[in-house]
Amino acid sequence: MTRKVAVIAAGQTPYGTLGKSIKSLFVEAFDDLITSADKELDIQLIQEAYIGNLGVGGAQLGNPAALLVEQCGMPDIPARRVENACASSGYAFRDAYRAIKNGADLVLAGGVEVMNDLVSSHQRYWLGVSGDTEWERLAGATFAGIYALMARRHMHEYGTPREALAACAVKNHKNAVHNPYAQFRKEITMDRVLSAPEVAPPLGLFDCCPTSDGASAVLLASEEFAKKYSEQPVWVLGSGASSDFLAIHDRDSITSLTATKKAVRSALEEANLEISNIDFAEVHDCFTIAELLALEDLGFFEKGKASEAILEGETQLDGSIPINPSGGLKAKGHPLGATGTGQIVEIWKQLRGSAGKRQVTDATTALAHNVGGSGATCAVHIFRRDD
């Protein structure tokens, strides 16, 4: 598989409570994608589509991928929905990447979710379905609860201070101020995070990502097409993915996500890079503890050492390894099925130097980390711009 793969266009809707249907959202993201391209694109050249979606607020639509591509004006291209909980579009991207590797020239990957058209009780019912329903859910655990169990154990094993978790939220809110697509564009203070109402101790309200509507889409191309249609393609150097036990009690460790470790190892191997070559990353911070775990599991910091690095500011926009310049799931928002390719939209902008005031300076290589549920699925991708 020596064919090179590039991202040649990427777009998204803002994230938030949008009051729009999945059709409107996805077409909006697609239009944004078309606008982002360097040269005029003939959309009829797109050969295939992979669309991440968990379930449109539990509405359980069948065949949404066909609906979405016909709405975009491509009624006959083969399309399918990819469902891997919150990692749906990370996996949609991986499938699109492999399609190019296998001979395709132009493939669409994207994701969409509408979460805010549900009454809150239906939301609370629906949001737990991506974990283990037979034991976790029967014990009354929520996702916040599952991540809280990880956080508590991490604190127990490594002495992780509560403030390190809070610092992730503070930093992500700060980054999102400069992201016009973010759901929350307001800074918050450490005090505010620490004194917020508890959701599942040690996690409080500001340790949790919001529920969001939104869509995102990226266009992948072969080397030939990339050179033809893009002046500044963003190359995909590696793709890695892994599954893990669905239920948290089945895992040997709950202080790291094994799926993240395995996925990043495959991605780095394929890219022929070390983690130290990565300049910044968009990681899956559905809860603050998830960002901390990602920093350790991806290999940016040794196990048990991330909290120190976070508190010293190393993950800030101007730190040694900027994490979530977009604001992350915490502040940019988390429309489940749209999140994975949404991270790649941010990387596309950053690597092309068009991220405005949240621009990471001198970045050539970046990583996207997308997790499903509490870590049962994970997709990692590595990107680089031409020097």
Partner: protein, 401 residues
């Protein structure tokens, strides 16, 4: 004595108006002034299994026959059979109407080596019923091997008809002279307690027969036809002077029992199965251990697929690498080898991690629990290295979390 052993399985949440008032200092408005609630997800099937397994543990064998009343609910017989190991031909299924609860009791009392099992859950009734929610499973056993005293459960009404039918879709006791006459006759014979299941008609009954000593079992709440039976077993001193009345809009059954001995009323010891006030007390002075939570929104089929794990903490062992695993799985999580059933895990474990699901943040099927308890704890416990499960109700350092 005909019925030799009884287990009453009352679900975990069991709150009456007085307790609610104490808990929240709120005025309790009209209607049915009590709430009786299944634990989260418990339903007639799981309660029936729990009750019968408890009885089987006690008597050491499956009864020869079972008279099973399932109420109006959605009872999953195949799941029940699978979970208990009972065969279908040994069951007389007596679903609605309501009076069949008493029929089941009556039949079991007249059949040796038989059990009756009554389950009722009103969880799915609309709030218009009066905001009440109720559930109960009660199982009893007639283990005597001869000389069954039929008199023990003799129906009070003549023609052995026991059941009165009457037209209309609304039960009004004033319009039912036969029912009234039967009760009047019984009251006339002496000091008789009438235990009445239909609280809505209680006032009218009191008016019609002023000298009757009537009660609805307020401490139990209204759980349809099972209520008077439960009350009956909970008040052994009243056994010689009670009439049980079960009525709904279709028919009425009246049972006049005349037990000569006392009935051994045994509730399951699990802290999940008690009055809420007792539950709170148990928190202060607990005795208990790891208790695996019951189901939520998964199908009965899925739920009972792991029945041995849920009810007995049964683990599996890998035939290849010998590692013990829980919850059970068909193939080993370490090496992929096939597994076989292994010993139950000990009910003692160490606490691996914990959190609290704060009020308002729980999955919707736990709303009632949060209404009753507020925040609740969820933890992971470790039985031995690597063998863990997530659960509620952990007894830790003297407290149940």
């Amino acid at each position: 004595m005909s019925i030799t052993d009884v287990v009453i399985y009352s679900p975990r949440f069991f709150v009456d108006a007085k307790e609610l008032k104490q808990l929240w200092n709120l005025p309790i408005l009209g209607g049915y002034r009590r709430i009786l609630k299944t634990g989260l997800d418990e339903n007639t099937t799981t309660m029936a299994v729990n009750a019968l397994l408890e009885l089987v543990d006690r008597i050491g064998k499956l009864p020869e026959h079972l008279f099973l009343y399932t109420g109006h609910g959605m009872f999953n017989l195949s799941a029940f059979l699978e979970a208990t190991g009972f065969s279908e031909e040994k069951i007389d299924l007596l679903p609605e109407p309501d009076h069949y609860a008493l029929v089941a009791l009556h039949k079991a009392a007249n059949t040796k080596q038989a059990a009756f099992l009554l389950v009722e859950s009103l969880e799915h009734e609309p709030p218009s019923v009066g905001g009440i929610l109720g559930s109960m499973a009660i199982v009893g056993y007639n283990g005597s091997d001869g000389g069954v005293e039929c008199n023990a459960f003799r129906m009070a009404l003549g023609a052995r008809g026991q059941v009165l039918r009457y037209p209309g879709n609304k039960f009004d006791i004033r319009g039912e002279p036969d029912v009234l006459n039967a009760i009047k006759a019984a009251v006339g014979r002496g000091s008789v307690k009438v235990i009445f299941s239909n609280a809505a008609d209680l006032r009218m009954l009191k008016k019609a027969i002023p000298n009757a000593d009537v009660e609805t079992p307020a401490h139990l709440g209204y759980i349809g036809s099972v209520t008077p039976v439960v009350s009956y077993f909970k008040n052994p001193e009243k056994l010689n002077q009670a009439i049980l009345v079960v009525a709904d809009e279709h028919q009425t059954a009246i049972l006049k029992p005349s037990l000569s001995g006392s009935v051994n009323v045994l509730e399951t010891a699990n802290p999940r199965h008690m009055l809420f006030s007792q539950y709170l007390a148990a928190r202060e002075n607990p005795e208990g251990n790891v208790s695996i939570p019951q189901g939520a929104y998964i199908s009965s089929i899925t739920y009972f697929d792991q029945k041995d794990a849920r009810y007995r903490l049964r683990s599996v062992k890998c035939l290849d690498c010998q590692s013990i695993q829980f919850p059970p799985r068909l193939r080993c999580k370490r090496c992929g080898g096939k597994t076989e059933q292994s010993a139950p895990l000990p009910r003692k474990a160490s606490l691996y991690s914990y959190t609290k699901i704060m009020k308002g943040a729980a999955p919707t099927e736990f709303d009632i629990q949060q209404m009753v308890e507020g925040d609740y704890c969820v933890g992971i416990v470790e039985f031995q290295e690597g063998v863990r499960v997530i659960t509620q109700n952990i007894l830790f350092r003297g407290h149940i979390f």
